[in-house]
Amino acid sequence: MAKVKKSTGIAIAAVLALAVVAGGLIQMSSGGSSKGGTITYLTHSESWTHADPNRNYTGQHLAWFSSYMHRTLTSYARAEGAAGSDVVADLATDTGRSSNGNKTWEFTLRDGVSFEDGSAITCEDVKYGVSRTFATDVITDGPTYAIGMLDIPSAEDGSSVYKGPYTTKDNDTAAYDKAVTCSADNKTITFNLKRAVGDFNYTTTYLSFSPVPKAQDKGDAYDLAPVSSGPYKIEKYKSKDEMVLVRNTNWDKKSDPIRNAFPDRIVVRFGLAEEVRDQLILNDSEKNSMSLDSVLPTNLPTVFDDAGNPKGDFATRAINVYDPYVTYSAVNVKKLPCLDIRKAIYYARDYAGLEQLSGGAAFGGDPADGVIKPLMGLDYAKVTGLDEFKREGNPEAAKKYMDAAKTACPDVYAKATDPKRGIYFDFADTDTNKKQAAIWIDSMKKNAGITMKFNFIEAGSYYAVVLDQTKQGDLSRAGWAPDWANASTVIPELFTEAGGFPMSQNWGDPAYKAFKEKSDAALAEPDRKKQGKMWAELNQYVMDQMWVIPGVFSKTQEIWGSGLGGVFFWEPQGAPSFGDIFIK
């Protein structure tokens, strides 16, 4: 559990160059594509985490289901590289119209859109779908943007007064009906927001803004049998077995300009042993199949050379690219209110040792210089002031900052160097992490004289524990990817008190006030270029304060059989372009 699997963010100019470096310029989907056949996906997972559109929240799931089954108001363009980050109209006729200073957003549904049973998709269906997000006890794991953004008051305990469509007790349904309205012809949906959201039409790319037919909603069980609005519908879906999609005959290509619908059938084989899954593809014994999981580290050398480029016949059926994630160690500023100590930790770390454990730079990724990835284009600028960074650790720099800490913050210094107290680091309890911990302990002792200790937390409940601000240690491992191509889903989420992932607990820091003001300003900035510059400056600010110890700009590898064409890395979702894959 290194990363929070949120959906993805994006690249602009840098993407193409990076893709080339990674050796993965792949066939284009246009031209040579053909219809028919069965595409098989292989995975070790026993089932999809969720198939219910409201509960989908990982880039891969969003990419897969939005390609084949679930339509929503807006979508990312089906295109390689930077163009993929453009928002295009999907169920709606356009990418939305805002008014009231970006606090009201309106979408009109296309003519001829329907569910798999042929019934027309109406505004009420979208409204009902969005309402399910509020039933947090049933519709779990999905993004909760609707709760945070829609203009619905909060109850005393902080939860929304609207509790979703399943309960009547103490449920203020009227508040929801006021926040989301449908036009008389049931074709136009209007969202009233509590604050200005300039890029709300990015939010609506989430499948939690998909239509759900009320009559067929079964609450939790809808996850097993969601109703399709896209080109394929479920014929069979069984955990630990398989999912079979067949053509949805009620889907009309004329109402859907963005989906291709190449194969006749799509099969997902669940629960394969990892080695078996890899071997089926490496051996090319299932030519029309693709792995949905990471390649086992032991199999990477079969596919890629030392530089990370696909070799031999894998040149046309493997990619090694940057994914949207940045890993880091969040500093609990409340417990480590000493900039010099934080810097000493950063410089004392044996990055090279940790990198080697994760398979080397060719597969693991490059050292991060902040929480914004170069793939983010506009929002990224190289962070300065980190010149003393050395891969194998820099004991001179570390000692310099430790000496400074001795006078600047003697209490924290005493704690950090006391063998009985030391600095506590939260890690998920896995074998790899235990090896990493050994490297941390060693390099901290050797390079900075810091005593480092570890809280190993059961992997499944890791985030639940460390996000409890009373339980968090001094440092916590984490990973994050932007929810869409804007650092508005990174900087405020990670470093403001109201954010969704505030593991730095930095609001007590004297530097916080100025930071928060600038962050709010950036959120409200209508000029995207200016906004991007502000995010880059805030990223620099975060690093100046060392609120996180940056980790890796991570990479991912994908492999597939020789029978498939049209595969490319769909940047906004950080996953292959499932909808463009065809059988050669």
């Binding site: 089932s47 939790d220 630990k240 042993a273």
Partner: protein, 332 residues
């Protein structure tokens, strides 16, 4: 005999009750919060967690929760409300929010898979283990015996996941001797041929490991029994070697095998986790292990209880069977 079985059944019932209580206690005091887990991986909203705790009944006192569980077993249980209402009829073992199904149904689907795996494997390994064990004992010190020693050595030292993986990667993927199964499991009643085809390698994998143990055990048991006085008596009567081995030696030598096989069978029914994982069989072992990694409490409780139930029942069956084989332990 009837009184004996009734008494044993009554004791079994209390053992299971105690087991269910123990499992509940263990999970009640584990340092994790089931309500926080319902909130999703990134959820840190205390409002949502608290609301879910109330809605899912995790705020109720421990004994109330346990009582509701027991009540569900006999009268069924419902969860949620409105369109999201879920009804799990008796015997309800709860509802898994991670698998979106009543636990009883999940067990009902997984049990036949594990049973199929276990029954085929036990037939294979008993045939192989007993056959080879008898041959090795009969031709002690000769080539058959030597070969069986090698078999035992390999069989007992290779872990099943490795055997299984080797079989899959080479026999199926590399050499293509058997086609890669198109499905994960087919019911015997649906298509017995496909059922056997899918299960053949898993059976072989399990049988390989167990047959090795049984070969060793049968060999020494047959040799020990051959030295018994009553075998000498049988020979003194003028019986042929075939009758002596087949009737007199094996009856006594294989009696302990019944106990061993019964308990091994019970163990497998609890779930052959490694074999099921390698061969992607949706059985009880997989159900249990994925529930453990995801803290899916209702499934953990149910699979643990089921495993206890199987072991208790199998013990009873083995005892009855043993009494049938060995008149000395027969109860009046």
């Amino acid at each position: 005999m009837f009184a004996y079985i009734s008494r044993r059944l009554a004791v079994s019932f209390f053992i299971l009750l105690a087991a269910s209580f123990a499992v509940y206690v263990i999970f009640a005091f584990l340092p994790f919060d089931p309500a926080a887990l319902t909130c999703g991986k990134n959820c840190n909203d205390p409002g949502i967690i608290e609301a879910n705790r109330r809605r899912l009944g995790y705020d109720l006192p421990f004994f109330t929760q346990y009582f509701l569980f027991l009540k569900g077993l006999f009268f069924g249980r419902t969860f949620g409300e409105g369109a999201a209402l879920i009804n799990c009829p008796a015997p309800s073992l709860g509802y898994s929010f991670q698998q979106h199904a009543c636990v009883t149904n999940l067990i009902g689907e997984a049990l036949p898979v594990t049973f199929s795996l276990a029954i085929g494997a036990i037939v294979m390994w008993l045939a192989l283990g007993i056959g080879l064990g008898i041959l090795a004992a009969r031709f002690r010190g000769r080539i058959v015996d030597r070969l069986s020693t090698i078999f035992v050595l390999i069989g007992t030292s290779l872990p099943t996941f490795l055997t299984g993986l080797l079989l899959l990667v080479f026999v199926v993927i590399r050499w293509g001797l058997i086609p890669f199964p198109s499905g994960n499991y087919t019911s015997f009643f649906e298509n017995p041929f496909e059922w056997a085809q899918i299960l053949f390698l898993p059976w072989l994998t399990l049988a390989f490991a167990y047959a090795a143990l049984y070969t060793r055990f049968v060999r020494s048991s047959v040799i020990d029994t051959s030295n018994e006085d009553y075998i000498r008596t049988a020979r003194a009567k003028g019986l042929s070697e075939g009758v002596i081995l087949g009737k007199h030696t094996l009856r006594a030598a294989l009696a302990p095998i019944a106990t061993m096989a019964g308990l091994d069978f019970a163990g497998l029914l609890g779930g052959a986790i490694l074999t099921e994982s390698v061969f992607n069989l949706p059985g009880l072992g997989r159900l249990a292990i994925s529930a453990v990694t995801k803290y899916d409490l209702p499934i953990i409780v149910a699979t643990t209880l089921l495993a206890a139930f199987i072991v208790v029942m199998m013990n009873l069956i083995v005892d009855i069977l043993y009494a049938y084989i060995d008149p000395r332990v027969r109860v009046a």
